[in-house]
């Protein structure tokens, strides 16, 4: 656990100094919500119908910005190689990076989420807490697949472009399940939510396990 904590602590200290990851995710996430609000304001559509998609577009694209920053930090001065020299399993390194990426994503999302509720005139009731839970689960899936993909992109020529190209299709199952689960909560359709939560948790666990096992090959030069 110590190396894992060391990686998270190091990333947090760097983020506190540079303020590049969370601030860019926040700015992007809130801007997306505002743009969607103006775009659909006059349409008369029910906010609980378009809201979940709007929210997860903001979350998933903002996550790519955060993952790109996390990638840039490890590429700079070849720091990733320094991590690989440590007497740790590659899987442990992967878990450390997932944990820090997940932490930054959740911090940004926990600020964007209340903004979403305010912009859509939704009350902060039990539904808010339910969406907090889905946000945590969905972010874990996105961070799990995003961390390994950002490592793979690090060894390609078009690093920043390659990450979204790989990340968006692979995170689609997580995003669809998260959108559906969020929609069920906003519309108080509780009986149907468990299926989507199972899919969401299933994909997060599968991505985490597979990435943990193949990370060794992803970091190979």
């Amino acid at each position: 656990m110590k190396p894992l904590a060391a990686i998270i602590f190091k990333d947090i200290v760097i983020e506190m100094r540079s303020k590049e990851s969370i601030s860019s995710m926040l700015m992007f996430g809130i801007l997306v919500l505002i743009i969607f609000m103006f775009a659909f304001e006059s349409s008369g559509l029910d906010k609980t119908v378009i809201g979940p998609g709007e929210l997860w577009v903001a979350f998933s694209f903002a996550a790519i910005l955060g993952l790109n920053r996390s990638l840039a930090m490890e590429i700079d001065n070849d720091c990733l190689q320094g991590l690989l020299l440590a007497p740790l399993g590659r899987g442990e390194l992967y878990l450390g990076k997932v944990a820090s990426n997940f932490t930054f994503m959740v911090i940004a999302e926990f600020i964007v989420l209340p903004v979403f509720f305010i912009l859509n005139n939704l009350s902060f009731d039990q539904r808010f807490l339910g969406i907090v839970g889905i946000t945590i689960l969905g972010s874990l899936g996105i961070a799990a697949v995003g961390t390994i993909l950002s490592t793979i992109s690090a060894n390609t020529r078009m690093k920043e472009v390659m990450l979204p190209i790989l990340q968006i299709p692979l995170s689609v199952p997580v995003v669809i399940a998260a959108v559906e689960a969020t929609s069920q909560i906003l519309n108080n359709e509780k009986p149907e939510i468990s299926a989507w939560l199972t899919i969401l948790a299933g994909f997060s666990i599968v991505y985490l396990t597979v990435s943990y096992l193949v990370f060794e090959f992803a970091v190979e030069e």
Binding site: A6, K10, S18, Q81, G82, L83, L85, A86, P87
Partner: protein, 235 residues
């Protein structure tokens, strides 16, 4: 007992053969200078030995530990310094070294970190972020990172690149100290005089194969290197 034993190490990147069967044994406490042109395979060999690059074929043992079977255990014995220092620019020297100390599981590393920083001449720059450092200071801190976990095998890939005279002197002193302490050192360089300065043995690598080995003090290495630069050493 050998600190490093490589048997027919081969590494290919697609169709390109970087190492074409390197067989080399380095005894404990030996200081080996490895010479070769750009692209000869020096860096790839050191990266394979440091477990950063997986070899395609062959066996490599560090302190008797097979790097394919127990890479984590082997890494504990290795300190590797490349052109890049692997340091985080937003952290200061102490934070960088503390981070690596935690990765290596060192207990109460602060005293060692302070002593190392003093030794490499960075005792007064402990609060400055690494991004404010010159190339020479970067490399000095890189040396401190390499020495932090007290490795028995030190691998240095072109460590003199971009260093000023003062930094070269500090690096030489540190290498001499490490050598006296019984550490095994393998250093790659283009500069024959720089490489032979503290070395006990020298080798030349060409197109992924070791083509010459001999004692560093013998004139044969100078003749072989001159011949190699002119066009080739007899294989």
């Amino acid at each position: 007992m050998f600190a490093l034993e490589s048997e027919d190490i081969r590494k290919t990147f697609g169709h390109f053969t970087a190492l074409a069967g390197v067989t080399l044994s380095v005894e404990r406490g030996e200081f080996l200078a490895l010479f070769g042109r750009n692209g000869a395979g020096k860096t790839t060999f050191l990266k394979v030995a440091a477990t950063l690059v997986r070899h395609t074929q062959g066996k490599l043992r560090v302190e008797g530990i097979d790097i394919s079977e127990e890479p984590e255990k082997a890494r504990r014995q290795i300190g590797f310094l490349s052109h890049n220092t692997y340091l985080y620019r937003d952290l200061n020297p102490v934070e960088n070294l503390r981070f690596f100390a935690r990765l290596y599981g060192l207990k109460e590393p602060d005293k060692r970190i302070a002593a190392l920083l003093e030794r490499v001449g960075l005792g007064r720059r402990t609060a400055d972020p690494v991004r404010a450092f010159s190339r020479g200071l970067h490399q000095r801190l890189g040396i401190a990172r390499v020495m932090l976990h007290d490795p028995s095998l030190i691998l240095l890939d072109e460590p003199y690149t971009g260093l000023d005279a003062n930094a070269v002197e500090i690096l030489n002193e540190l290498l001499d100290e490490a050598s006296r302490a019984g550490k095994t050192i393998i250093l790659t360089t283009h500069d024959l005089d720089q490489g032979l300065r503290g070395a006990t043995r020298a080798a030349i690598i060409d197109r992924g194969k070791v083509v010459f080995t001999g004692k560093a003090k013998d004139s044969a290495i100078r003749d072989a290197y001159a011949s190699y630069i002119r066009g080739g050493v007899n294989r």
